[in-house]
Amino acid sequence: MAILAVLAAWWLVTTVGMVSPFILPPPAAVLEAAQRLADGYLGASLATHLEASLSVVLSGYIAAALIGVPLGILMAWIRPLAILFEPLVCLLRPIPPPAWIPLAILWFGIGLTGKTFVVFISAITPCLINAYVAIKEVPPYLISAARSLGASNAALLFQVAIPSGLPMIASGLRIALGTAWATIVAAELVVATAGFGFIIMSGYRNFESAIMAVGMIAVALIGFLMNLIFRKIEKHVIPWGEHE
């Protein structure tokens, strides 16, 4: 409903000529720009742009999940590890991921490695923190119940704490995916030769606001779809959870 209202207002405002099409391109122009993009924009097809953004997001994100989740779990389970890593996590956390971009360029150049690094940094925090809290907040009565049933320490971790924390770990992974996506777009705004951030920035540089708008809409749709797919998987993997 709200989406329809915004679309209607957009169409109305641009059609009656209240704002210049340069400041806010009319829907028709954006559709036309979308067509141009689909046919290939700035020497790259849509698939190339998609691949450029998604490959970086996925590699950075998967690395963050593979390191962040186990590290968070271990920090919650083994107290000395928490003491060791907590100050580091707390200090690095307030740095917004895009602020790492200049450093990443300095270290890795303007290629994919630098962007993957920034995506990794952005995604690891939610993975780690949610995994940590998920294990810390395993209800003590479940631990007591499992111990009285004869659970060893290993069984407590793998068969009680981790499954108990899985819903929260999963929501951390979902948040991380959103953060990773937002971060790659930001990184592409700064340095890129393809990808959706690059499309938005090119639109801006070439005074083509319709291209800019298409880029933004594409970013929104892809982010929305990723979230949707993730939720579907989550529901499948965690059938006991309280899904709305």
Binding site: Y141, L142, S144, A145, A146, R147, S148, L149, G150, A151, S152, A155, Q159, V160, P163, S164, L166, I238, P239, W240, E242
Partner: protein, 284 residues
Amino acid sequence: MVAAIGGSGSRPMDFNQSVASNSVRYEDVSMLFPGNRGAPPTLAIDRFSLDVAESEFLVIVGPSGCGKSTILAMSGGLATPTTGKVFLGRELITQPGPNKAIVFQNFSLFPWKTVVDNIEFGLRLNHVAAEERRHRIDYYLPVIGLKGFEKHYPRQLSGGMQQRVAIARALVLRPRLLLMDEPFAALDAQNRTVMQEELVRVWSEHKPTVIFVTHSVEEAVFLADRIVVMTRRPGRIKEVIDVRETAGAQHWRARPLDQVMRHNDFQDLRARVWGLIRDEIVIE
């Protein structure tokens, strides 16, 4: 089976020779909780000594904070007394384990496990063979009235059903000692009555020794062989009442609760136990 009850004056050696394997002995058990932030420590249990016979159904009642649940935790190996010892048969209780199964007030089911997986978990942890696991589960599912709910998750069940799963999860291990910490307190009155009767039925099959903690005097009188009334903190034994003396040859629990409730002896005993507890309640 004859249950040997070691007298409180018996020497350790005599005790070791005459002890029945599923009896429980509390030897001068005290529990001191350290105070937080400079507060003085709290003595929760003060020299609790008691012998519980094999297959006895012992119910502990007392005012809030009298240490009932602490006694249960120590019996289950989840807490260690500051001084004194708790024995199950000849074995000094030092850690939790499947021979002393616990049923908790909040059910404590594993939300990610189905009914069957919850019941099976303890068996798996203790490496019971697959065939035996299936055999025991097939036995208990109809007993607890949950046939057809095997694949349900706990959140899909009512409170009464959840607690039946928790009881089955404990009984399926064939524990020597069954510890129940206000297991029916979270249930409504109707469910509670039904569950008390069902517990008696299920328990009668193998008769593990039971230590049952409750706030409900009626529940205590109905279920118990003996009732231990505790004082307010620091928890001591105020009185031990043998219900079998008033219930006659048959236990109260062998009859439906609504019939038993109309019995004068039942009501008298209930009034007596309640009187003992009321004296211990201080309004602060």
